[in-house]
């Protein structure tokens, strides 16, 4: 059984994930509004409650990679002065 479930949902702010949620199940947020949660009852219930659109791991990874690559391209277009003041976005591999 896969360890994680993936989906996309918009973070609505306060209460989107709670203190209790974070103690009950694994949760990580990524660019492109991708969320990764533990593959258990609590994680699946949270995804459903937030109306997440479930994705396969490869679909979720493609969304994250596209967003990161767009951001890397934006960074590459900055002047040398501006590049020095912020890090080039690094690649992200979903768990």
């Amino acid at each position: 059984m896969a360890h994680f479930i993936y989906g996309t949902a918009t973070n609505t702010g306060k209460g989107f994930f709670t203190h209790q949620d974070r103690l009950d199940f694994f949760l990580r947020g990524y660019p492109a509004e991708v969320w990764c949660v533990g593959n258990n009852v609590e994680g699946a219930r949270w995804l459903a409650d937030k109306n997440c659109v479930e994705k396969t791991k490869s679909e979720a990874q493609a969304l994250v990679t596209a967003e990161v690559e767009a951001d890397q391209a934006a960074w590459d277009a900055l002047s040398a002065e501006e590049q020095l003041t912020r890090s080039r976005p690094s690649d992200i591999t979903l768990p």
Partner: protein
Amino acid sequence: MADYQDIKGLRVKYLSADPSTETEGEVWYNSTSGTLKTSLLMGAWSSGGTLPTATIAAATLGTQTAALITSGYGYPGNPSGIPQTNIYNGASWTAGGALQNPRVYFPGAGTTAAGLVFGGISQISPYRTAETEEYNGTAWSEQSDLITARSQQAGAGTQTAAMCITGDAKTPPPTGTSSTLVEDYNGASWTAGTATSIGKHLAMGCGTSTASVVWGGNAYPYTIVGSTEDWNGTAWSAGGAMNTQRRGGGGVGIQTAALCFGGAGPPVPSPTDSNLTENYDGSTWTTNSATLATASSSQDGMGTNTAALLAGGSPNTPPNNTETEEYNFAVTTQTLTTS
């Protein structure tokens, strides 16, 4: 074998619902769910109110329920910084007075009613700025400049007793330095303070003008360090080493109860954003089991080591840089299982 009654002098309560008010260590059986439960003091990060403006490398100050974030990068670009100030009440953000000199990578100190920001990068020649501004709850006003213009420094203290610690003082960019310079603010002007032992920029710091701590950061050009220095009002001394070295993360609390979260760790020059949290007790760093939901850097924090707030920062893509997270160390219900 001793049972719960032998140890606590009480029997496990048999309840149809969880108690409305829980005490740390309390144990009960919930007959409705058929589960044994307890109350534990545990820290965790939860989502906070969404920022109205995407913000990276801004100045922050205040507490979790009375916080301020000002200027920083918008998205996309805005290299000179955006002027917006936003105020948080623990649930949502509202607009405050505009910063007079927009900039990026600069710290804040004090409260939403008596705030202070200093230094940073203005992208207007000579780039690194010495500008100091005070916030009175509604508007920013210019004050006496830092002696040495710099960016990516740590801050500590209040509006009338603040410290500007380390930073990159080289002008103009892109070449840089990692400075040991320290300056002290008394509410009217800056004076030279006692230099730290280790030069760094993008370090994290917190505390007061007589008991502060600075840790982590970047030793120019590309070494991310995990060292800590403690200030006792007279001299700097070496503190405990971080478990995970980072730069550009959040730092809140006091010298003997500090919290570090997020930041970027090796490898450089393209470091990876972290979701780790660590606690400092004045001598030792301990990795906290609570992690940020979204790894972040180029942000700062507000609050204390039991009630903190993270706002803005990377990833550099919307909506991540409008998301906020709140750390609370609070009594929570946990179900006891045999595994």
